[in-house]
């Protein structure tokens, strides 16, 4: 295991300054070797690793709005790799190892804080599932422990481990190397490096169509004109299916609003990250001091970046149930991102029926933590025209073959 982040920070410490210069705002060129559609975390990370690992710099990242303004700006920044399945833990663990060196790689203070993640268990089936995941993590070389309630309390004293709550904490899995980072800083770090390498980051540039020649994509039509492309990678999260519809490729992702919220700035009170599925909470305290919390998924589909308020109310009930000390905190702001969920809740990455078109979507709630890992693996896939081993299991054709990587996890049905 690598040492924890080399620059320990206490919650509440002032934020580090951004660099004086981030990126140019170039006019699009007539064509590029690689066009990445989507200037979110994944698109920017892919651009960075195309330049860094493969020396490919004649690249444009096209963003219909502002860079990293979609889910990258809206997630709760939890980073962990304690996934159940081999395929998932492999790519998330690769990502975590990259996270551990990312501040240095990007030369940007991304505030990666390995404060550990607790996943709480509240039922006997939760315990079975947790033990199963911990044992699988260990055999896969991912740091993981099963903790009894008193050990949970030692790591996070504010969790209500009393036995007389509605769903008592029966224990937790713990990944010490997990943590949080500052999302904008991460995105801007990748963007700045890509820009330095000569990659054009083009904002306010929506893709409206594709130019094709047989089974090759030759360019993209955009609100800023047609741009030729040697290869095209789609990193547009839930809007990927809107783009692939233009090419007649069906991509099975459904988009749902997922809300999150913050409190006012508070003195340090919450030392780690806590997640609970049964009493639905995931919460950390960000560096400035605000509690950052994710709510549940809205059940209807849509691209509107807003959700229904009863989801927030339910979220507050869960938060106060598990963390009585939060009762007095104030909700300062709510917002929503859009989770793009595939049928097996695993991403869809890799090649498509078009020889030079690459897909990357369906990350659901896992996109942020995967950012460096997928950027690395997608860059490899684009450069070598061959799925990187980390993404090979996540091909689109698994929905035909049935080789699913089902991260919905145990259905938790009780008899």
């Amino acid at each position: 295991m690598r040492p924890r982040s080399s620059t320990p920070r206490t919650p509440g410490a002032d934020l580090p300054e951004h660099p004086d210069f981030l990126w140019r705002n170039p006019e699009p060129k007539r064509s590029y070797d690689v066009v990445i559609v989507g200037g979110g975390g994944h698109g920017l990370a892919t651009a960075h690793y195309l330049a860094k690992n493969h020396g490919i710099t004649n690249v444009a990242v096209l963003e219909k709005g502002w860079l990293a303004g979609g889910n990258m700006a809206r997630n709760t920044t939890i980073i962990r790799s304690n996934y159940l399945w081999d395929e998932s833990s492999a790519i998330y663990e690769h990502a975590l190892k990259l996270w551990e060196g990312l501040e240095e790689d990007l030369g940007y203070p991304i505030l990666f804080s390995q404060r550990g993640v607790l996943n709480l268990a509240h039922s006997l089936q939760d315990v079975r599932d947790s033990v199963r995941r911990v044992e699988a993590n260990k055999l896969n070389g991912v740091d993981a422990e099963w903790l009894e309630p008193d050990e949970v309390r030692k790591i996070c004293p504010i969790v209500n481990t009393s036995t007389d709550i509605r769903y008592p904490v029966l224990g937790a899995t713990y990944q010490p190397r997990a943590g949080i980072a500052k999302h904008d800083y991460v995105a801007w770090g990748f963007a700045r490096r890509a820009d330095e390498a000569g990659i054009d980051l083009i904002q306010d540039c929506a893709v409206t169509g594709f130019a094709t020649d047989g089974n090759r994509v030759t360019g993209v039509q955009t609100t800023r004109g047609t741009i030729g492309a040697g290869k095209v990678a789609l990193c547009a999260a839930g809007h990927t299916s809107v783009l692939t519809d233009l090419l007649g490729i069906r991509v099975p992702v459904q988009s749902h609003p997922l809300q999150a919220l913050v409190s006012e700035l508070l003195e340090p009170v919450h030392p780690t990250v806590v997640m609970s599925n049964a009493v639905h909470v995931y919460v950390s305290q960000a560096h400035k001091g605000e509690l950052v919390m994710g709510a549940g998924v809205d059940s209807y589909n849509g691209y509107g970046q807003r959700g229904a308020f009863h989801i927030i109310e339910r979220q507050m009930a869960a938060a106060v149930e598990l963390f009585p000390v939060f009762a007095r905190a104030h909700l300062l702001r709510t917002w929503a991102g859009i989770v793009d969920v595939s049928p097996d809740a695993s991403p869809i990455v890799g090649r498509t029926p078009y020889d030079n078109l690459y897909l990357n979507c369906g990350w659901g709630t896992g996109g942020f933590k995967a950012t460096p890992g997928i950027g690395w693996a997608l860059a490899h896939t684009i450069a070598s025209d061959e799925p990187h081993p980390y993404v090979a299991p996540f091909s689109l054709d698994r929905f035909v073959t049935g080789a699913l990587v089902d991260e919905h996890g145990a259905a938790a049905v009780a008899h």
């Binding site: 951004h18 004086d20 089936q125 055999l139 896969n140 807003r306 702001r333 145990a410």
Partner: protein, 956 residues
């Protein structure tokens, strides 16, 4: 401490009563009706805290929620981490202190009560200022069902802060009359201290009512402290007023620097003078009212500094009559002072250039850069905003269905206009609702509005201090300056969202109420683009912060999630059952006798069921009554096996799969009639499966004539299990022939017990001879007691879920959700027999044909027997290949599967387990390893049925 800045009279505080409070450890007094801010100002105290990053002194800068300066922590009587001094109503015994940016969560539990109310109205009016009152009156007089909510302690809005007159009398007289008239309408709900904080689709508006804090110790205990109102309005009228906007200049953050309108509020509403010597800096006419009112109240107004080249000729004349100096074409370029402003630096200003200036002594500097309509609720509801270049502000840029904006929130400039606009908007709303306005719908006569001189839009004064904008504060709460915006733009940022994130402007407690539009303006200026193109960042709920506890409401503790118990719960408690949470249900897990631990109790309960008779409360099993001519068709399409061929009177086990062919639930189906089935689901799957059936029936096959109804709670279910169960059931229900031939396995019979209908079914989840007894829950205890009584000669033993699990596992019956995880097909479970080959289609069928489903290495359900005959494998353990050296290799170690269920078996006299193992059925007889606490435990792979594989026991 005394209150030297309290005016001799005036204001809306109760001067007859004095309340005591403590701020930063110092004792103060004030009056009911004060806020913490007004009481501190009355004592001459402006500074509240120091700033978050730079540690600069900060004071009260506004009079309500838009104040960026006065953050406090309240310690008593009710601890809260971060509030604004301007919105904390004074109550006796209040203890608070200033906050340098971070609040602290008190450790004492919040024992206050919070609740929520749904309220449906024709018209919801937000804001009880002139426009809102006019709108509410218009709607109420028309007979509409109306709610009027306002965040202040009393109605009146801007009228509370001024000296306006209506119908030739003080305007507040009209406000009082309007409030009284509204109170007379039975269909009107009028709430003060209720902040509308969220606006959603279809007229859904949330408001937080603060009900008790202002009462201090006198608050009745039975009242909830705060209440969330969930309004659903056919029409929403947003009359939320406007926030005054500052102008940014060097050192504009010192205590004593305040919005001009706020000073007027403190004077008229609270009877407080903000200082003795004032300088007023403005870009528009409104601040002249503050200058003149303060002058009349005895404040020495040193100068009105008007950035407009000509100022306002009419207002200048008024000032000159009062002896107030007006400096037109001038600006404040900076200030002096540390803990309080001491001088305003004033300089001529023309064509964007600042000339040589001079210092004017003052202890308060009032600033007005214009007014920003409070468009938050409109914008939250996805209303598009339009930049109004004349106002220098964003105003509603479109009409929304069912939501309109009126008064100064819509940019209406004067009182007469606001009243008329409120009425107009309300009438339009009524018209859309087909409600006729009242014949008598009179509004008070307002003075003829005076056309003001055109305002100047000025975001910032050029910094001549040499600090290059680094002390020109845009967002005081974030210590963010003009220099920060310039740096962001210099870094290549063009989007206002990027500027926000780079500078953190707008992310603090006030969410950019005063800083947001300034940032848009300054960014646009620096980029040389129109402000409209820069736009604003997104307005998000809540408008002002809301306590977590208020939103959690009553859903805390035991009410966090409904606790479901069966009709026998009290009996179980008396019997000493240990309970298990199964979904929302409390189920007995086992019934320990004195001195027994779980293991001993379960071994005893298992032995009873296998050798004598046991009884289980199975009432939590989901039950769905499926009726209609097409009931059988629906079930055929949802189950993998055939249900239409089931005969009335018979029972069949069935499996349901998702579209991916993975098992989602199982259970038995009783055919009650040709067109009626009783579907049993797992306990945890009951709601999900009903949803599943409804979704398919409603969205995919609406042609099917079928209805599904949950009857889970209409029947209790008691499996009576074991070789002696026939004796027990036969004794209690003598009208039923319980012989095997007359009542075969997988059939059901109806009977009665003392006239009460009872259904019996021969279903077994243990492999033993068993009868399930169904009865209405009213009779649950009586029937249960009869069964116990009849079973006493055979030692009938109640057992819980743990024993149920062991018994079924010994027979290899899987529990969906424990032995499956959403990746398991019926074939994987060895239940290929339950998958129909005849049916043309059913949910999941197509997926069975996929390549991966044919893979011989799929995980299959098998049994495991630890070779040492002692180890109970932890459930969830992983399984690896047998290692001859008994050592785990370094990771990654390939895994074969995992242990899904694991128990001690009384029948086998050894521990056993069920597991999902890759190619498991082909490994039967092999030995594999299970890592347990660092050692490898050898286990033998077996078939999944370990007890009575020939099925000899089920018929007794």
């Amino acid at each position: 401490m005394t209150s030297p800045f309290r005016t001799p009279q005036g204001g809306r505080v109760d001067r007859a009563t004095t309340v005591e409070f403590t701020f930063d450890g110092q004792a103060f007094t004030g009056h009911p009706g004060d806020t913490l801010a007004s009481a501190l100002l009355a004592a001459g105290r402006h500074q509240i805290a120091t700033s978050i990053s730079l540690g600069r002194p900060r004071g009260i800068a506004a009079a309500w929620a838009e104040d960026p300066g006065g953050l406090v922590q309240v310690e008593e009587p009710f601890p809260e981490p971060m509030l604004l001094a301007t919105t904390v109503e004074l109550a006796d015994g209040l203890v608070a202190h200033g906050l340098p940016g971070q609040g602290r969560l008190a450790e004492i539990p919040d024992s206050a009560r919070y609740d929520a109310v749904h309220h449906h109205v024709d018209v919801l009016v937000v804001g009880a200022g002139p426009a809102g009152l006019a709108a509410a009156l218009t709607a109420a007089r028309a007979g509409a069902r109306v709610a009027l909510v306002d965040e202040q302690s009393e109605a009146g809005g801007s009228l509370l802060a001024g000296t306006e007159r209506l119908d030739d009398a003080p305007a507040l007289q009209w406000v009082a009359a309007a409030v009284a008239e509204l109170a007379d309408h039975p269909e009107v709900l009028h709430l003060q201290r209720a902040t509308a904080f969220g606006s959603y689709d279809d007229g859904f508006v949330l408001a937080l009512e603060r009900r008790t804090d202002h009462l201090g110790a006198a608050a009745p205990r039975h009242l909830s402290r705060q209440r969330v109102w969930r309004f659903r309005a056919r029409s929403v009228v947003v009359a939320t007023g406007a926030h005054e906007r500052p102008v940014v200049f060097a050192d504009n953050d010192r205590p004593g620097i305040m919005l001009a309108g706020a000073a007027r509020t403190f004077l008229h509403r609270y009877g407080v003078l903000p200082g003795r010597e004032a300088v007023v800096f403005t870009t528009n006419d409104s601040a002249y009212d503050s200058a003149l009112d303060l002058h009349r109240a005895g404040v020495r107004v040193q100068a009105v500094v008007d950035a407009r080249p000509e100022g306002s000729p009419r207002r200048r004349e008024e000032c000159e009559r009062a002896g107030i100096r007006v400096l037109a074409g001038a600006v404040v370029t900076g200030t002096r002072g540390v803990e309080r402003v001491t001088h305003a630096l004033v300089a001529p200003f023309a064509d964007g250039e600042v000339g040589a200036g001079s210092a004017i002594a003052c202890d308060v500097l009032l600033v007005s850069g214009g007014w920003n309509p409070a468009v938050h609720l409109f914008s939250q509801a996805r209303g598009r905003l339009r930049y109004d270049a004349a106002l220098g502000a964003f105003v509603p840029g479109e009409e929304l269905d069912g939501l309109s904006v009126t008064g100064s929130a819509a940019g209406v400039p004067d009182l007469a206009g606001c009243l008329a606009d409120g009425q107009r908007v309300a009438r339009a709303a009524l018209s859309a609702l087909a409600i006729a306005p009242a014949a008598d719908d009179r509004l008070p006569a307002a003075p003829e509005p005076v056309v003001p001189s055109a305002p100047l839009v000025l975001w910032r004064v050029p910094d001549t201090s040499g600090a290059e904008g680094s002390t020109s504060f845009v967002d005081l709460q974030r210590d963010a300056t003009v220099a920060d915006i310039a740096r962001a733009v210099g870094a290549g940022l063009r989007s206002i969202e990027h500027v926000k994130r780079y500078t953190t402007i707008g992310t603090a407690h006030d969410q950019g109420k005063t800083s947001g539009v300034l940032t848009s303006g300054i960014t646009a200026e620096l980029l040389g683009v129109p402000v409209q193109d820069t736009g604003t960042t997104t307005f998000r709920p809540p408008y002002t912060p809301v306590a977590f506890a208020a939103l959690a409401g009553r859903d805390r503790g035991r009410l966090f999630d409904p606790e479901r118990v069966t009709a026998l719960h009290d009996w179980h408690v008396t019997a000493g059952a240990v309970f298990e949470d199964v979904g929302q249900w409390k189920r007995p897990r086992y019934y320990p006798r004195p001195g027994e631990d779980m293991e001993a109790a379960v071994l005893r309960e298992c032995a009873a069921a296998r050798t004598g008779v046991g009884i289980l409360d199975g009432s939590t099993l989901g039950k769905i009554d499926v009726q209609g001519p097409d009931a059988a068709v629906l079930l055929d399409r949802l189950y993998t096996n055939l249900m239409s061929s089931l005969k009335v009177g018979s029972v069949r086990y069935g499996v349901m799969c998702g579209v991916d062919g993975m098992v989602i639930d199982d259970g038995t189906v009783l055919r009650l009639a040709e067109d009626r089935f009783l579907v049993l689901t797992t306990t945890g799957g009951a709601a999900k499966i009903l949803d599943w059936m409804e979704e398919w029936a409603q969205t995919e096959w609406p042609d099917l004539r079928v209805h599904c109804t949950s009857v889970t709670e209409q029947w209790v279910t008691f499996p009576v299990v074991g070789p002696r169960s026939r004796d027990v059931v036969g004794a209690v229900f003598p009208q039923v022939d319980v012989a095997n031939e007359a009542f075969p396995f997988m059939t059901w019979r109806d009977t009665t017990l003392d006239g009460v209908p009872v259904r019996l079914a021969r279903i077994s989840f243990s492999g033993e001879l068993a009868f399930e007894v169904y009865v209405n829950p009213w009779y649950a205890v009586a029937v249960w007691q009869r069964l116990l009584e009849a079973g006493r000669p055979y030692g009938i033993t109640p057992y819980g879920t743990e024993t149920m699990h062991v018994l079924r596992a010994e027979k290899g019956y899987p529990i969906i959700g424990q032995d499956t995880d959403g990746t398991v097909t019926p074939q994987d479970l060895g239940m290929g027999w339950a998958v129909s080959k005849k049916k043309p289609d059913f949910v999941g069928k197509r997926s069975f044909a996929r390549v991966e489903n044919q893979n011989p290495l799929r995980k299959q359900l098998v049994g495991l027997l630890p070779v040492d005959r002692r180890t109970v494998l932890p459930e969830g353990s992983q399984i690896v290949e047998f290692r001859a050296d008994g050592q785990l290799p370094p990771p990654p170690v390939p895994m074969l599967g995992h242990v899904t269920s694991s128990y001690r078996s009384a029948a086998l006299a050894r521990p056993f387990a069920l597991a999902l193992v890759k190619g498991g059925r082909s490994r039967i007889g092999d030995t594999v390893h299970v890592p347990v606490n660092g050692t490898l435990v050898p286990v033998e792979v077996t078939g999944s049925v370990l007890v009575d594989p020939e099925g000899a026991r089920r018929d007794g």
